[in-house]
Symmetry: C2
Subunit: 349 residues, 2 copies
DNA sequence: CCATTCTCTGAGAACGGTTTCAGTTGAGTA
DNA sequence: TACTCAACTGAAACCGTTCTCAGAGAATGG
């Protein structure tokens, strides 16, 4: 690997002059230097430049699970922004584990200029430590309790949950269940709160056995849906708080041959590529995904510009949107008298 | 940010001694140094260490599209390996563009210790340049013409295509179409070749208008499926060469209300999370995904161990597996006499 | 008690760039 | 011819580590 000294020697100038030439300054021996650079196929060492400048031009991106299509889309959005800059992305998964997140962050702050994080829980303290280390931090998808002073790109989860609730109520459901996400994450908590709020406002109560909490993974959606279906009096509609759990719930309903939406309506949070192709096509609360990633990256890159470096935290809250497809419908038997007879698990076809 | 000099001064020793202590050597003033490190919350600069050692402990991962569930899974597999090491992943998308890939690689070789690449085309020359630069390179999913001297983790694409063809033939199809991927990629070319070979071996010809080539993206699957359906004599079965194009084809069939598998059988390459949930559940050629990523990463990390650094290239070729679900079935009317009547586009229900 | 080994230490030179600072050069002017 | 000033240059310091090497001090052996 040729160094700047080698090039300088070959061109008959000092390393300083080569450095100046490469950064665009006018230099007397430009041709000679260019020739030497070409002949030796010289590229400056990024590491040496980083050491000198104190900047790595690398952004750390920490997400719970890259195979979750939502996060894949978010990362793609980030990439679409960095592509036009000289920043690159260092990626890490936390598998929804705070410990893993702590380890990743502690490591990362030594090698990146900024971090975009979807924290594993709202209570994490490590992110505060990241800021102390002088590394700008942007939250995406999930917030932190006391995170108001950090940039963030979120969605109005409470309203999204509310939309889901109101949609089911509007169809006439009254026995409604929720499969929520981890209650120590912002989306998990807020989606549930918004959902419950909608029901309460309509005078519909959600009994504890219908108010379940999962962990955002497919398996928990599957298990919790199974448990709902085995209740003596199962709900007529389920709200599932993220894409993977919705998939799990769908599998459970399929396994038990529950008719959707005849016997059970299902509404999810976050659309899927295959959402329209599923049997039945899924009704979901949708939100911008790629855009969220792109916005978060732009927010972060702004922090590197002197004029914005000390601005107040910018909190971008995007709106959710109901996409009505065919997995929700009015309940088959509108609740008439108090049911003494227990509703058997129906078999279709 | 405290430096090793600050710590040394505080502990009353030289920087060299602090460095030695930190790397586990025995040192007389261990307690004093430890105390200084703790009090100042000192962490060595990764950049300075890199400059000194010549290693960045970073692996570049270059894939066409991280939102493709296959590549997301592959990356996750890689991450599951690096997690237990002190290597991290730098991620880049190429959007299937050779130019973008060239730019990314040229940049990357200056900042990573090794690269795992799914090349945009088989003809790319830049990867050879990567090796010249002394950066170990491993191919995953896709190979390079003349890439035999590089480590690689691939699947037996030809055999996979053949399996797909034989499956359709076995069901009795004779009017069979293929929606292949880019023919300048290994998987695109080999899957098609294997598929055609199976048909040819059975004496079934695939006319040019049934032998279509897409670009691995959903939209091309959609468009090509549409064009197949608009033929005067459409096929009774389609083989689609990757997950996204299969999704596109499925959407086209859905849009035209084509009955699957009644009117049209569909077999895809690569399974999807939602594969079993789709209407109908998809028959696919499956392959290990997470494992492929993990294997590729292990292959690469081996190159950093002196004892393996100069070993011959290791080429791991994994097997594909047919997963029979409900999107393939015998053709409704087994081909009897030469059809003069043109088969209208059927409407169901 | 001296010679020999062993263990630990710090100064200083890398690593490969950029930046500062004090020149040097040469053109333009009096 | 001497003087001024702008444009360019190179030596050396610096970024924060690790490594080399010579030397100091302690332990061991005779």
């Amino acid at each position: 690997m040729a160094t700047i000294h080698d090039v300088a020697a070959r061109a008959g100038v000092s390393p300083a002059t080569v450095s100046r030439f490469l950064r665009g300054q006018r230099v007397r021996s430009a041709e000679a230097i260019q020739a030497a650079v070409d002949e030796m196929d010289y590229w400056p060492s990024a590491t040496a430049q980083s050491l000198q400048s104190g900047r790595t031009h690398t952004i750390g991106v920490v997400v719970p699970d890259i195979t979750n299509p939502y996060f894949a889309a978010v990362v793609k959005g980030m990439e679409s922004v960095t592509r036009h800059t000289d920043y690159r992305i260092q990626l890490a998964n936390t598998d929804e584990s705070s410990e893993r997140e702590d380890a990743v962050l502690a490591e990362m702050i030594r090698r990146v200029d900024g971090i975009i994080l979807a924290p594993a829980t709202e209570q994490d303290q490590t992110p505060l430590y990241v800021r102390d280390a002088g590394v700008p931090l942007v939250f995406v998808d999930r917030d932190l309790l006391g995170g108001e002073h950090f940039d963030a790109v979120l969605v109005n989860n409470a309203k999204g949950g509310q939309q889901a609730g109101e949609h089911l109520l509007g169809l006439g459901h009254t026995r409604i269940a929720a499969i929520s996400g981890s209650q120590d994450t912002t989306p998990g908590r807020c989606r549930r709160e918004g959902f419950v709020k909608a029901l309460t406002a309509a005078g519909v109560e959600i009994p504890p056995e219908h108010d379940l909490v999962g962990d955002f993974r497919e398996e928990s959606g599957y298990q919790l849906a199974l448990s709902l279906l085995s209740l003596p009096e199962p709900p007529t509609a389920i709200f599932s708080a993220n894409n993977l759990m919705t998939l799990g719930a769908l599998k459970a309903l399929r396994d038990l041959r529950t008719d959707i939406p005849g016997e059970m309506s299902l509404i999810g949070f976050d659309d899927l590529d295959t959402g329209p192709l599923l049997r039945p096509p899924l009704t979901v609360i949708d939100r911008p995904m790629v855009e969220q990633g792109a916005l978060a990256m732009r927010l972060l890159l702004r922090r590197f510009e002197d004029q914005y470096a000390n601005d107040a935290a910018r909190r971008i809250i995007l709106d959710t949107k109901l996409i009505e497809r065919a997995s929700t419908a009015p309940p088959r038997k509108p609740r008439t008298a108090a049911g003494a007879g227990r509703t058997g698990r129906g078999r279709q076809r």
